[in-house]
């Protein structure tokens, strides 16, 4: 097969979608001196994008040196809480560490602002940005992706990068990736609640630009797979629920009502009180883990970020933005090499998944490959939270009955819960292995 393409192209590379994955890919390729078109369907980059908001941003120092100094970040996350919510209780594993302020591995972000800034960096590096344009389809010739179709026009490139997010209609229409099973997807329903800076700092025990992130499981989803989140921004809170679609579809619950139920839980109400609603939104989350990260290349095509299924939900953290940036770095390196050699074949571009396996993206996807299955366990979302709250109740409810050791109290709580000891131990072991 002829693998070198000599046909006229409009750009060396066309990137579809200006989220984190698309912008980082475009930026890196422009730095390498290639002509790059970045097409975004939103009127401005970021206007379609939504995440919970904690960006594990260390990778950006490599992708865009100086990121921390100039990007519109909200707060540096120095307090991480893993919380179990029940109807009446809130049990927290609260981890605050000054070292996190020094090393800055996580920041809170709001995507409308961040993505607009990323795309501006791209333009400065020479990328041609085309906002307000929806890519309607990938153009293929003889099984090779040769360009895009948008608004009746066709544009050609040596390589097309699909960075069009979790639904990736482009890959779906082109038959590159099929629809994912429902259990690989979750819907995030989110509100951004405005509050004065001082109030946020008082309620979350913060100073300066430090920030807090709560990952919450239990009563927030009425036992559905998923959880709640509460993140601090400079002058607002990002708060919402993530609901696994297989459970949601089966359950009879309403996504909007579960969101409202979480926000009006007395514990949440105390954080959000007197705030002003700035925005209500929703977005899908890729939850399939390694099982969803397949079909990343075709001749003339690479798939990056959420479009490639690269998100990790470990229960403690939802990570997609860092994997989007990491996959973009890897893809840009491989596409750069392909452009230099003039070889855009499947074999040439298959260096990209191999590259992913060498860096944190592939390694972490592999390490946490058991997490999705573990998090499918319904006991994670109901009974364990209640068990934990009963144990803590036993410790602190000093009602003048004689106290017993923690282990005995825990044994009682377990006896009174619908949980059986063996499956509980099995779950604990599975959790240790999966997470």
């Amino acid at each position: 097969m002829d693998t070198t393409v000599t046909a006229e192209v409009d750009f060396d590379v066309i990137v579809a979608g200006a989220g984190i994955a698309g912008s980082v890919t475009a930026y890196r390729l422009a730095l390498h001196g290639h002509s790059v078109l970045l097409v975004e369907r939103g009127p401005s980059p970021g206007s379609k994008n939504l995440s919970g908001g904690v960006f594990y941003c260390r990778v950006m120092e490599e992708a865009m040196p100086g990121f921390l100094l100039s990007a519109p970040i909200e707060r540096r996350i120095t307090r991480n809480c893993l919380s179990f919510l029940s109807e009446s209780s809130f049990v927290n594993l609260d981890y605050a560490d000054d070292r996190l302020a020094q090393s800055v591995t996580a920041v809170s972000v709001l995507r409308a602002k961040l993505d607009e800034w990323l795309a501006a960096q791209c333009e400065e590096a020479g990328v041609v940005l085309m906002p307000g344009v929806r890519v309607d389809a990938l153009v293929t010739e003889d099984g090779r992706v040769t360009g895009i179709r948008a608004g009746g026009d066709e544009l050609r490139a040596h390589v097309v990068v699909a960075a069009d997010g979790v639904n990736s209609l482009l890959c779906r229409q082109a038959g590159v990736r099929g629809p994912e099973p429902l259990k690989h997807l979750a819907v995030g329903v989110k509100s951004v609640i405005g509050l004065p800076r001082r109030v946020i700092e008082e309620r979350f025990n913060l100073t300066g630009d430090s920030g807090a992130a709560y990952a919450i499981v239990g009563d927030c989803t009425k036992d559905l797979g998923g959880g709640g989140f509460l993140y601090t921004n400079r002058e607002s809170l990002s708060v919402g629920v993530v609901l696994r679609l297989d459970d949601l579809a089966r359950s009879g619950e309403s996504s909007a009502e579960l969101h409202d139920r979480f926000l009006t839980h007395p514990v949440m109400e105390a954080f959000l009180r007197d705030g002003e609603l700035l925005e209500y939104g929703c977005h899908l989350v890729a939850e399939g883990g390694l099982a969803m990260a397949h079909d990343l290349t075709r001749p003339g095509l690479v798939v990056v970020g959420d479009a490639a299924g690269l998100t990790l939900n470990t229960g403690f953290t939802v990570r997609g933005m860092d994997l989007a940036a990491g996959s973009a770095l890897a893809a840009a390196g491989v596409v750069d090499a392909a452009l230099k050699r003039g070889d855009y074949s499947q074999e040439a571009l298959d260096a990209y998944p191999r590259e992913l396996d060498k860096i944190f993206v592939g390694k972490d996807m592999r390490t946490f490959r058991r997490a999705p299955l573990f998090l499918e366990n319904p006991r994670m979302y109901g009974d364990y939270g209640r068990l934990l709250s009963d144990i803590m109740y036993g410790v602190y409810n000093l009602d003048t009955t004689p106290r017993r050791h923690l282990a005995a109290g825990a044994g009682d709580a377990l006896k009174n819960s619908p949980l059986a000891l063996l499956p509980t131990i099995r779950d604990a072991l599975a959790g240790v292995r999966a997470l």
Binding site: S44, L263, L277, E279, Y280, C282, H283
Partner: protein, 98 residues
């Protein structure tokens, strides 16, 4: 239902910004398929924006202008019920926070 201090979904969406495509709706429901599959209640329940409603005549109402473009309905609807695409370039919801 828990009372959200920030109002109903519709009231909350009123604060969002939209550029509605009045010429081409981006969601179409095949009413016959929807009725056959009993998809109305599912769609009404799972959509966070309240786009879908069960009509008294048994049909499914579609307020596509309120759509937040998440793709939940597309993923969960029985095959053949929805034809769903992103709105045309520049149209649809415009998040200011994200």
């Amino acid at each position: 239902m828990s009372k959200n201090p920030w109002g109903t979904v519709a009231e909350r969406l009123d604060r969002n910004r939209y550029e509605t495509d009045t010429e081409q709706p981006h969601i179409l429901v095949d009413q016959e398929e929807a009725a056959r599959a009993g998809a109305g209640p599912l769609l009404a329940r799972i959509c966070p924006a309240g786009v879908y409603s069960e009509q008294t005549d048994g049909g499914v109402g579609v307020l596509y202008a309120a759509c937040l473009e998440c793709g939940t309905c597309l993923a969960a609807a029985p095959p053949g019920v929805l034809s769903w695409s992103y709105p045309r370039g520049g149209m649809g919801v415009i998040f200011r926070e994200g």
